[in-house]
């Protein structure tokens, strides 16, 4: 920016009224020096660009294939996965550059005022040093749904379980249909009278999940005036007979059993012993239902499906912003340190609040830097590819699709459809052109 005054001076020196002969040889030397660069640019930029544009009007395979006109472009806008890719890219462009600039600005302004600013900046900038693919793999792990695998859901589980702890038999299922689900718990359908025996058989409990101290299940004998029963793991190798207490099946100790009267009110609770038996003593006349409360079966926190079809794009955006916020911060902080302090001081002296200084002075003065970051981010986001490939599981890659990934998947992964792939590439190119033009115009203005 300040370089404009320096570059403005040399031209009068550099352009003496040279004789035409000398001019030609200089021109020749210049061309000679440029030739290798032109050659390389031609081979690696110009030819592929032209070829891709031409290729996009031809069929699937071969050097050119068969002429198909604009069919590839029709495919691009009618295939649902490709349309999703275009929509997603639009979301990326709408969200990421703005958020990255905002976050970068906040970080940059705030780090000016804290101690350990360098340490903070280093930490925020560090993700830039990691390749996007590695970032994708890392966040893929963080986002795992199973709280025992994914760090984010593990945090969720810790918070969740602090407020409602999971039941001791969260996976258990009734072994027969006479036990029915009711309000999260299980209730024995057949009503009991005093002297009755309640058999509450459960399955779906892995041996290693059984409470310690469990012993052979016992079916209690009927006792007048009491309601007795057993809660047991109604399973032995091969399955056993459901609903029958058999040799080799263990009682489940420590289960809270509830006795409800005919109106559904809990009149007594009892806890099972090591044989799984329980006893409700001194039960009055009438009919009752025995059951196990919902707390026993409360499921632990299962985790959010970060990598599912609905949340995948937000999850990707978070990871991507995590990478680039540091870059924005560093660039904006550099711009910030070059701001004329006296303007800020003057504003403060005139009685502007900190917010007003920020809003009316800092941000307008930083505008050129902010726009550089913003435009860089738009280009980055349009060509985003690797992080989506690495982070999104295969089953949701269609939901997470973006233009660059769609291009690769169409041209190289599976379909090998070079025609449509080229059409997508051309479409992406067309999208980037205005941004590039804007950038080039800005460069010109600065020089």
């Amino acid at each position: 920016m300040s370089g404009s005054s320096i570059t403005a001076e040399p031209p009068p020196q550099a352009a003496p009224p040279a004789p035409s002969e000398q001019g030609t040889s200089r021109y020749l030397t210049g061309t000679l020096f440029l030739l290798p660069a032109i050659f390389l640019l031609g081979v690696w930029l110009l030819y592929p660009t032209v070829y891709t544009i031409v290729r996009s009007f031809f069929g699937q395979s071969g050097y050119l294939g068969t002429w198909v006109g604009i069919d590839n472009y029709k495919t691009l806008f009618t295939t649902s996965t490709l349309v999703t890719a275009i929509k997603n890219s639009a979301i990326w462009v709408a969200v990421v550059p703005a958020l990255v600039v905002a976050l970068g600005l906040i970080f940059a302004v705030l780090t000016e005022r804290i101690r350990w600013a360098v340490a903070f900046k280093t930490v925020v900038f560090l993700p830039m040093a990691i390749s996007a693919f590695a970032t994708g793999v890392t966040w893929h792990l963080l986002y795992q749904q199973d709280p025992s695998l994914g760090a984010i859901n593990a945090l969720g589980r810790t918070v969740h379980d602090a407020f409602s702890s999971p039941g001791v038999l969260s996976n258990a299922l009734p072994s027969t249909t006479s036990l029915q689900k009711q309000g999260g718990g299980l209730v024995l359908k057949t009503p009991l009278k005093p002297g009755g025996v309640a058999l509450l058989g459960l399955t779906g409990i892995a041996p290693q999940d059984m409470p310690s101290g469990a012993r052979q299940a016992v079916k209690p004998a009927s006792k007048p005036g009491d309601i007795e029963g057993t809660v047991w793991r109604d399973f032995k190798p091969g399955g056993g007979k459901p609903g029958v207490v058999e040799q080799g099946e263990l009682g489940i100790p420590g289960v809270t059993v509830e006795l409800r009267d005919s109106s559904g009110k809990v009149v007594q609770t009892a806890t099972t012993d090591s044989h799984g038996t329980f006893d409700f003593t001194g039960v009055g006349g009438g009919t009752y239902n025995a059951g196990i409360g919902a707390a026993t079966f409360a499921k632990p926190f299962g985790g959010y499906t970060w990598l599912g079809p609905k949340l995948i794009t937000p999850s990707l955006l978070i990871a991507y912003i995590w990478i680039w916020a540091g870059f924005a911060m560093v660039v904006i902080a550099a711009g910030l340190s070059a701001l004329p302090r006296e303007v800020l001081e003057a504003a403060r002296t005139d009685g502007a609040t900190e917010w007003q200084v920020f809003r009316r002075v800092t941000v307008p003065l930083l505008a050129p830097v902010l726009s550089v970051v913003f435009i860089t981010m738009i280009i980055n986001v349009l060509k985003v590819f690797d992080i989506v490939l690495a982070l999104a599981p295969d089953s949701v890659q269609s939901n997470a699709n973006v233009i660059a990934l769609a291009m690769w998947r169409t041209a190289f992964s599976g379909s090998n459809d070079f025609g449509t792939g080229s059409a997508i590439a051309v479409f992406l190119f067309v999208l980037v052109i205005p941004v590039l033009a804007l950038n080039i115009r800005r460069f010109r203005r600065e020089v």
Partner: protein, 451 residues
């Protein structure tokens, strides 16, 4: 261009070296005094064949070493042919497409996608390997030669075959639940119910990898309707809305719809890819009882878990469905050898690959299956491999993985076409008719455009 001149130079040098070697051997044999047996009939014809063969394949690491040994076996018979193998990895379809576009394909390549072979034939890039027909017919049952026949001509040899009709199970979980390896579909479902009651989910599905779901469907369809109907469906001669598909999907829904019996439930399964699903089922303690996938699971178990064959894991053929017409039908996949050029050296090598000698070299090393009926099952190194590969040796009816045989945009693209729609099916197994409609419209679109 430079490649060719380099190749010629090398060939000349080789011929020279080989000439010296042959002379020495002849002298030695003369001195030895009439040891005629060794070499016999082959060496007379073979030393006259010379040249080089450029082979591109997907095999890398241990598989590459094994194939180099197969090549070494070939060079014992044909010392004057130099086969240079280059591993191109899983990207070989892309690399081949680019090489063809650039006008310099290799001499031979191994391709895992029959659909791609068909495509290459239609585009006129492949040379028929009719010269190997008699060797193949002598060693394989006709069904195998049919796999490589396109438009009535033989174009490919299925050299390294895999058996996709297998079911892997965790031995400790089966023991705990007191069930035996299921032989029939009914047994499978009742086993699954018992396993669920024992406290471990029965199935570990790899829903994030769409192809694992289509593999399960294909096995059910094959067992239920037989290979003829299977081939019609895979060629899209039967529509996906056919009642036969409905019935197969209804059977499949008994597995994928049993949400509480799937490790991680439906949503967990959709995020579990292959091979994570295998690692889960055979971890310690096992998180699920069964993985319904092909023979390649065995290698993954050995590499990624501490489970041992026999005590930790075991394998059984995919359960039969009665009254299915083909109880022993096998769904196979594998590496097809195709030829882009035609020289005596190439012909000799292709023919050699169809012999039992070539197959045995790799079979002994493990991780290899073949339909070559003259390879005895005893050459396989362990009981697991024997269980998985023996059905191939005797198989009278073999079919390719259906999704590999279809246009790639329908059958082999991540999250799209068949793979993506079967993931939707896992998400919502009750929507069979809508799934069939989606499959049919995607299939007819792909077949129309041919890609």
């Amino acid at each position: 261009m430079s490649r060719m001149s380099g190749g010629t130079n090398r060939a000349i040098r080789l011929v020279a070296v080989a000439g010296v070697v042959v002379t020495l051997v002849a002298v030695a044999a003369g001195c030895g005094g009439g040891s005629k047996k060794s070499g016999g009939g082959t060496s007379t014809g073979s030393s006259s064949v010379s040249g080089s063969v450029k082979f591109w394949g997907i095999w890398s690491a241990a598989e590459q070493t094994a194939f180099q040994k197969v090549i070494a076996g070939f060079n014992k018979q044909y010392p004057n042919v130099k086969v240079s193998y280059t591993s191109k990895g899983d990207n070989i379809p892309t690399i081949l497409a680019t090489a063809i576009a650039g006008g310099s394909p290799p001499d031979l390549a191994d391709v895992a996608q029959p659909g791609l072979v068909k495509q290459l034939v239609q585009q006129g890039h492949l040379k028929p390997i009719t010269y190997a027909k008699s060797t193949i017919d002598a060693n394989f049952s006709p069904a195998w030669a049919n796999l490589g026949t396109i438009n009535g001509k033989l174009y490919a040899l299925l050299f390294k075959a895999s058996n996709k009709s297998t079911l892997w199970y965790s031995v400790p979980v089966f023991k705990q639940a007191g069930v035996k390896a299921p032989k029939t579909w009914t047994q499978l479902l009742s086993d699954a119910k018992t396993i669920k009651a024992s406290g471990t989910p029965a199935y570990s599905l790899c829903g994030a990898s769409g192809w694992t779901l289509t593999d399960i469907f294909e096995n059910i369809y094959l067992r239920m309707w037989g290979s003829a109907k299977y081939d019609s469906l895979s060629a899209h001669k039967i529509k996906w809305t056919d009642p036969s598909v409905t019935k197969a999907l209804q059977y499949m829904a008994k597995i994928v719809g049993d949400t509480s019996n799937i490790y991680g439930g439906t949503s967990g399964a959709l995020q579990t890819d292959y091979p994570t699903c295998v690692d889960k089922a055979f971890s310690n303690p096992p998180k699920a009882a069964m993985v319904l996938q092909g023979d390649f699971v065995g290698l993954e178990i050995l590499q990624a878990t501490s489970a041992k064959a026999g005590t930790g894991f075991n394998v059984t053929p995919f359960p039969s469905i009665t009254p299915g017409p083909d109880a022993s039908a096998v769904e196979t996949g594998g590496d097809l050898i195709v030829a882009f050029h035609d020289t005596p050296a190439i012909e000799a090598f292709v023919k050699y690959l169809a012999t039992p000698q070539a197959a045995e070299i790799w079979a002994k090393l493990g991780g290899f299956g073949t339909g070559n009926k003259n390879v005895p099952a005893s050459v396989y190194p362990d009981s697991i491999t024997r269980t998985t590969e023996e059905p191939l040796l005797g198989a009278k009816s073999v079919v390719f993985d259906m999704s590999d045989n279809q246009p790639a945009s329908f059958g082999a693209t991540t999250g799209q076409g068949e793979w993506g729609i079967f993931q939707k099916f896992l998400q919502n197994p009750s929507s069979i008719s809508s799934i069939q409609g989606q499959l049919e419209s995607a299939a007819s679109k792909a077949y129309k455009s041919g890609k």
